[in-house]
């Protein structure tokens, strides 16, 4: 068995597409939550193969896309502080803030570094040249990625490293989904749930979707076979009026998830009362911050004076605003598609992104642009 190629064979894709087409009674609206799913759907043309049968609505599962401008402004502000090394994952670097971006700060001479892993932060901290620096990790990601930031904290504490700080922007999947469903004016019949978030959390986090809202929920992997088998199970739940949480990615997702990772996250993080999302505004209990006992590692505490200046500016309306024409907010809620946005492909493209949905590797706009033909 070939774990890579076995899940993307053309004959399987055709076969599954035929089965789905035969079973769809009336066109089904399925929201895939995760940007990785959006990309795979576009890459393999699954939306085209299933045209008129399944309408894929793109959800908010792109941690870079949902980051509001003011969090970028905080990263930029911290990067400009003396003695700081600001480290972030690659696709955060180019997201535009109010006046600047991390990549722009780098070209202006600030020490901003791209990392592939929290393990890179340890390497930066262990470099003797950096012992007097403040290394700040702009930590982003959903439940897939939060455990890695927790593992970083575990390791820096064990190694008695005291010059690494976390600016925590970790977010949770269920709250924006509930916000979309609470708004009532959605046409969603079911959800394809994020496979790798579910590896960590298990399947229980989606239980509101069928129980409270009566919608289908199927956890799927990212290869075309995985997405199509997930879509088929969703169609069957809809046809049979049998909403439930089902795991279609059993080779990686266990019902209880990864308890070790969950415990590590619960050790270091607590849920914020409020967190702002691009496109949604504030969603209560949707983001994580470091627990009070770890405040010495929390960049929002250590840099609170610098950030306070920034917050005053934002309150007076001088910063923190997104471009008025950018439809990223609507796109993240599945209400618009990238090609509905007046800026798409013209003013806004991967070389000159206006909004986060175009910058991020997982953004719907980036996917539409890349696979446009």
């Amino acid at each position: 068995m070939e774990l890579y190629s076995d899940f993307k064979r053309k004959d399987d894709i055709s076969r599954l597409a035929s089965i789905i087409s035969a079973e769809v009674e009336k066109p089904v609206n399925i929201m895939e939550i995760c940007g990785g799913h959006t990309h795979s759907i576009m890459k393999y043309g699954l939306n085209i193969i299933l045209k008129d049968k399944i309408n894929f609505l793109h959800g908010p599962g792109c941690p870079v896309c949902v980051m509001p401008v003011k969090r970028i402004d905080e990263a930029v502000k911290i990067a400009g502080s003396p003695g700081v090394i600001l480290a972030a994952y690659g696709d955060m670097m180019r997201v535009p803030g109010t006046d600047s971006s991390l990549i722009k700060e780098r070209t202006e001479g600030r020490d901003v570094r791209m990392v592939y892993s929290p393990l890179d932060i340890i390497k930066i901290a262990e470099d003797k040249n950096n012992k007097d620096k403040k290394i700040v990790f702009f930590a982003i990601g959903f439940e897939t990625t939060t455990p890695m930031t927790a593992a970083l904290l575990e390791e820096i504490i064990a190694k008695r490293i005291n010059n690494v700080f976390i600016h925590a922007n970790h977010v949770l999947v269920p709250p924006p989904i509930n916000a979309i469903l609470d708004s009532g004016d959605n046409l969603i019949d079911g959800f394809i749930c994020p496979g790798h978030v579910s590896v960590m959390t298990g399947s229980g986090i989606y239980s509101d979707i069928p129980r409270k809202y009566g919608k289908a929920a199927v956890i799927a992997g990212f290869e075309p076979y995985d997405i199509l088998s997930g879509a088929l199970l969703t169609v069957r739940q809809v046809n049979e009026k049998r909403p439930a949480v089902e795991i279609a990615y059993k080779r990686a997702v266990k019902e209880d998830g990864n308890k070790k990772a969950q415990d590590l996250v619960n050790k270091y993080f607590t849920v914020r009362d409020e967190f702002e999302w691009r496109g949604f505004g504030n969603i209560p209990k949707s983001g994580l911050r470091l627990k009070e006992e770890f405040k010495n590692f929390d960049a929002e505490y250590v840099f609170k004076d610098e950030l306070e200046e920034l917050h005053l500016k934002a309150e007076s309306g001088q910063s923190g605003k997104e471009n008025a024409l950018c439809k990223c907010g609507e796109i993240l809620k599945g209400k618009s598609k990238p090609d509905d946005c007046p800026l798409f492909g013209k003013v806004c493209n991967p070389e000159n992104p206006v909004g986060a949905c175009m910058v991020s590797f997982e953004g719907a706009c980036a996917a539409y642009y890349k696979y446009r033909t």
């Binding site: 790798h196 990212f222 990864n258």
Partner: protein
């Protein structure tokens, strides 16, 4: 962010790290988050340098067979299900 890649374990170290082969490239990853110890030859899902989970090859085979069986059922008795 969501994209994690299956990689085969080729070496295990005693400091919670392992060397894995991802489509021909070798790299060092952390095994700190794994609930069960990894063994050589296991396939692990790797995300931002950490192993998240061992891939269950038996489940992988079963899920591949699941929908292939459906088509052969249809062919056997000519009835669409």
């Amino acid at each position: 962010m969501c994209l994690a890649i299956p990689s085969k374990v080729i070496e295990i170290n005693d400091d919670n790290t392992a060397v894995v082969d991802t489509m021909g490239s070798k790299r060092l990853v952390s095994t700190m988050l794994l609930e069960e110890s990894a063994r050589i030859g296991d396939y692990l899902l790797i995300h931002v340098g950490y192993a998240m989970q061992k891939i269950d090859e038996k489940e992988a085979m079963e899920s591949l067979n699941l929908f292939r069986e459906i088509e052969s059922k249809t062919a056997d008795d000519g009835v669409e299900r």
